[in-house]
Symmetry: C2
């Protein structure tokens, strides 16, 4: 069973012309969404601390830190842009597992500033990187995730290696080595959720995957059976492995078509509850002080992942479905502002949060929820959200994604740059030099205000 | 059970004065041995390819690549020196598991060129790094290793983080973060054995552990329970975890005292047979053409791991107990020269190799062997090696280590530098600036010949 080799062969032989137009369009959507997340979080404390720690070890100024004026070597740029694009947990999510863009695009965009790459090449490599990481991730899912691996890190490193390897035009054997060097760096623990290390995972995956491809291009060898061997990735990091998930239908179905984008700045599992609360608030013009109780019905995983009853920081707020429901009612929103330290500690939010209860219901999907609001005057309103906004069944539109991008980027890039980036993303395959995207996404001398 | 916190507290509070003199002396021995391995392998193809791939992304020339003239940023220097020191598998081995020095010393020595550190501080940090990595490794051993993790990589990253964190004078919480950032980068698969990735593991561990400490110093946060939490290192990467192995007797017993050094450039299991052959040759002044047969009695694992009867390359020679016995008699040595392609194909060696037989004997320990040499004139000599040279029961002497160092370094560094390095290692705690060691171990403009 030559799983690694079959995948490597596909990656090497795939041509841009083989990609159906909807696949390319989804790549554009993902790139736009990812750029907004990275630029929007470019001054996040996590990014600041990573830069403070590592800047003085960076090589030549080869690639931009998005939204900032620093330029780093491509490996460090990949690391930092990987952190910034995931730090708000506002980046894309595959329908079944993995945040696809955060480990892959930082490596590709940095590469495109170092060696000339067309927009079509970059989009193609991105699609392949996503294909590799999702298939490898799903081949060991959910056991691999359940035991405690952060699959965005552990699978993401393969995506970065595959994508960068495509740009480096590795041959089949070198591509197998790149996947092997990625496998032997595969890491990231779910124990880190709630700390700065969570966003470090896709950053390090981008960094390590790019390193793997660069090493393989110089014939640095690894096992050529790194995924499937008895002491390889799948058997060491999971109790289950389905190799067919990796090898079947390559070039026929594309995992990027199952990509989803978040309207709210927290984990997807909370979104349906937020939708329900926002919709009830809007429809019935509810004031927080009128509310006696908010009762949520959610999938059991929601409580497992976001069960913090009394978050103390903005970051902890993202892991509290109670906080999410409270801000949805108070602010009719769940953007980054609603997950700030200030908002988490605001008396009105704290008071309402204390009135939220959540009941696990195994019959509900993760993106489905019931929200019931009971008022002090006895009235009760209930909303059943079948599909959260941003899911495959109810995707964000291109216009929704543009609006999200504008919201994230405003105040960091001038309007002209912002609109130029939107145009570049939709026309990515027409770009002669994809490096223009990175240069447009770099910060300007002083923060611009629109 | 606050395992991570207890370990962090010990690491932060330990003082150099608390270390018994034999511990410091063992640190000197390990540093000397490690330097020889790194310098001696500095032109290995694995090192050349890693440098070719990554050199152009290196930051300022902060630290030496040992045995070479390149200077890299401290992170890349740690990576490359970690690779070179392990690539020949000639570095030290803890009595139960882990190659202790290769993941730790590269980080420390690079650091010592960047920020001034005394020799006493460096030796102290090294002892603590070894303590952390061995205890963490043994707390999940052997299940963790048996499933397929290369424990030198997975535990080594903790050693590098702990040691670098000590030099950075992290406080207790920061040290817990450093261990956490290390935990979430812990990686390395045994599937890579036999490829260039095997030595990449301690290199990456040095690089990643140093990164972890630098990030923690800037308050980049991680879980503070990274080792023991349900989704932390021990439970995710092993089916067994004994926390007492980490926390008991800290500061009372020192794992570095169980460190072992290899006299021969091949796997430890072959060493007792080599000892027997060398001793018989020396004692009886045997010439290869007089020999009718060489009969070995060895532990069954020896044939399992090193049963190649007709090796064709130097690397294959390391997996042939037949070749090892033949060169021991022909050359009275089993250094890197005896495992070259040339030596493996030399007619005299090939001829004698064909006269070697080996019998598995389950009553023999892995480091025990019988060697019998039968001469054509009818005489027969037998030697029982109870403990191979280099084991804890029969350690290499300081003079043995010096001789090994001289052999590895000759032809790369001039004699004056070589002897100066030996003196520095024995007097490590008297050095005001440990950076002098790295500068003395750096390559000179053109290869020197003694």
């Amino acid at each position: 069973m030559e799983v690694t080799r079959i995948l490597a062969r596909y990656l090497v032989n795939s041509r841009h012309e083989d990609l159906p137009p909807p696949v390319i369009h989804e790549a554009s959507r993902a790139i736009l969404n990812w750029l907004g997340c990275a630029i929007g979080s470019s001054r996040h404390e996590t990014v600041e601390r990573a830069l403070a720690a590592l800047r003085e070890f960076s090589g030549p100024p080869q690639a931009a830190v998005l939204g900032r004026t620093e330029r780093l070597d491509i490996l460090h740029a990949a690391l930092v842009n990987g952190i910034s694009s995931h730090v708000l947990d506002f980046d894309d999510t595959h329908a079944r597992a993995v945040h696809p863009s955060a480990p892959v695009l930082p490596a590709l965009l940095a590469y495109a500033e170092w060696r000339k790459v067309s927009g079509a090449e970059l989009a193609h490599a991105f699609v392949l990187g996503v294909e590799a990481e999702i298939r490898i991730g799903l081949s060991v899912f959910p056991e691999h995730y359940d035991v405690g691996w952060h699959i965005t890190g552990t699978a993401g490193v393969f995506g970065a290696a595959a994508a960068a390897g495509k740009l480096l035009r590795l041959d089949e054997r070198q591509m197998a080595w790149a996947l092997g060097i990625a496998a032997t760096q595969s890491a990231g623990l779910r124990e880190m959720f709630g700390s700065m290390c969570k966003s470090f995972h896709p950053g390090r995956a981008a960094h390590n995957g790019l390193t793997a491809a660069l090493l393989a291009a110089r014939n640095f060898t690894s096992s050529e059976r790194a995924i499937e061997a008895p002491r390889g990735f799948a058997h060491v990091l999971s109790t289950r492995f389905d190799p067919a998930v990796i090898t079947q239908g390559l070039g026929e179905r594309f995992e990027i078509l199952s990509n989803m984008y978040k309207p709210y700045a927290c984990g997807l599992v909370v979104h349906a509850a937020i939708d329900g609360c926002i919709e009830l608030k809007r429809e019935h013009h509810l004031a927080p002080h009128e509310i006696e109780r908010i009762e949520l019905g959610v999938n059991p995983l929601v409580l497992e992942l976001t069960g913090k009853q009394s978050p103390q920081t903005g970051l902890e707020g993202k892991f509290s479905v109670y906080h999410a429901a409270a801000v949805a009612v108070v602010h009719e929103a769940a953007g980054e502002a609603q997950f700030s330290d200030e908002c988490v500690r605001h008396p009105e939010v704290v008071a309402l949060r204390g009135k939220v209860t959540a009941r696990a219901d195994g019959a509900l999907r993760k993106t489905e929820a019931y929200a019931t609001i009971r008022l002090k005057d006895g009235r009760t309103f209930t909303r059943h959200v079948e599909h959260a906004l941003g899911t495959l069944a109810r995707p964000m539109s291109d216009a929704d994604l543009e609006a999200k991008f504008r919201g994230l980027v405003s105040g960091i890039l001038p309007e002209s740059r912002r609109e130029a980036l939107i145009r570049m993303c939709w026309a990515i395959t027409t770009l002669d030099d994809a490096g223009v995207v990175a240069r447009a996404a770099a910060g300007v001398g002083t923060p611009a205000r629109d």
